[in-house]
């Protein structure tokens, strides 16, 4: 069984930064990214707020750079999924397919998963009109109508990205105003292709082979209407991707890992990125917490090398 100084689980900006720092510190590092490294930023059309990246840079381009940088100092990138972890005894164990590896320290940076509406049709029509990433699929809605569900930064950004192709983008939000930042809100309000429907929830998605319509319910009075649309982009937030850590790390009621900064309750196990951030959720804050977790892991190994 291979033993690593540091095993980083997660291939988003936090995990990639953590691996960069630990491998540069000459710690034997395994970076487990799963098949699609990059995390949420990989689904972003343009990154406009990462310091120093003032030239137009897409999310996937930034991810490529982060991967190149993370592996430059010797981190072993592994595109398999971590399926099981055992943090009961040291060294800690991580299952990768049929291989079991051991770790003196673990940095958990598994990020978050797009929250679903919880409708049966949502899964049935995923990829057939239901989608979560405008960068990936906006071009396939050229001259069509798309409903964007949500009212935060993500919903606004996705709507703006969609408006480059779609004929009409309708933001449906349960509140009476969007909650995203003023800069995105203003852009969306000034965009002639975007309109808003407030105080409304999507109660069903209709379509046999493809999305044809949604059921919209006004929240004050419960009135339901059928609203024709060719696509439904769901941007209602995220849930922490902590499924494999149940029973291994302390989780709160929402599935978040209980931590003190980047330190979990288990010695030598650290947490970084969106997984542990319910407030800021920026690329730069994800990278920063990856850095902090890496430095803590290095300190831990210096103090307790076994």
């Amino acid at each position: 069984m291979s033993l690593y100084d540091v095993v980083v689980i997660g291939g988003g900006p936090a995990g990639l930064t953590a691996a960069l720092y630990t491998s540069r510190a000459r710690l034997k590092t395994k970076l487990i990214t799963g098949p699609t490294p990059g995390g949420q930023i990989a689904l972003t059309y343009n990154v406009n707020n990462y310091p120093g990246l003032h030239e137009p840079t897409t999310g996937p381009e930034l991810v490529e750079r982060l991967i190149t940088h993370a592996t430059k100092f010797g981190a072993e990138l592994d595109r398999r999924e971590a399926t099981v972890v055992d943090f009961s005894l040291k060294p800690y164990k991580v299952q990768l397919g049929s291989e079991l590896i051991a770790a003196k320290t673990v940095i958990v940076a598994t990020g978050s998963l797009n929250r679903k509406l919880g409708l049966e049709a949502e899964d049935q029509l995923m990829g057939k009109g239901v989608f979560v990433c405008a960068t990936c699929d906006a071009a396939l809605y050229e001259d069509l109508r798309v409903v964007v569900v949500g009212g935060g930064d993500s919903a606004l950004q996705e709507a703006l990205d969609l408006s480059k192709f779609a004929e009409e983008v309708v933001i449906v939000h349960r509140g009476d105003d969007v909650t995203g930042c003023q800069c995105l809100k203003t852009q969306a309000q000034e965009n002639p292709k975007i309109r808003f429907i407030f105080n409304t929830v999507v109660t069903d998605i209709i379509g046999e082979e493809y999305v044809e319509a949604v059921k919209l319910m006004k929240t004050p009075d419960g009135v339901v209407e059928t609203f024709q649309t060719d696509g439904v982009l769901v941007a209602i937030g995220w849930d922490p991707n902590t499924g494999i850590f149940k029973g291994q790390l302390e989780l709160d009621a929402d599935g978040n890992i209980v931590s003190d900064g980047v330190k979990t309750g288990k010695p030598g196990i650290f947490v970084a990125g969106d997984l542990n951030d319910r407030v800021y959720r920026q690329v730069v804050t994800a990278c920063a917490s990856g850095c902090m977790a890496a430095i803590e892991a290095e300190r831990y190994l210096t103090q307790k090398p076994d």
Binding site: G127, T135, C136, E142
Partner: protein, 125 residues
Amino acid sequence: MPEIKDIQVADWETEITGSKIPVVVEFWHQKCVACKEMKPIYEALPGRIGDRVKLTRMNILDSKENRRHAIKQGVRSTPTFLVYCDGRPIGAIIGIRTLNEMDAEVLALIGMSDNCLLATPLEEE
């Protein structure tokens, strides 16, 4: 050695409708992360099943015509791999797969379709 052919809408008649063997068309684009993940997997298929099916791909960002054609074919997500027999779509594979899964799903779609009697290796004329 069979390889993947990059096609445009103008090639559809020749490459898909007029093909005498089943055809897989990948609808993709360069900003799609999942497409990037699937690239080495799809590019390994010609060496494995290239004698049974023709493998092609269309970049939906190459032209408005390509995008519209993809939409007309029912593509709503990238990557989508549509399988055609006799010019008619017989099934779709949407999203990421392993190499073994791709092999198996493509061959299963061809094997299940009445339009495709070509589940054994052959050469295109």
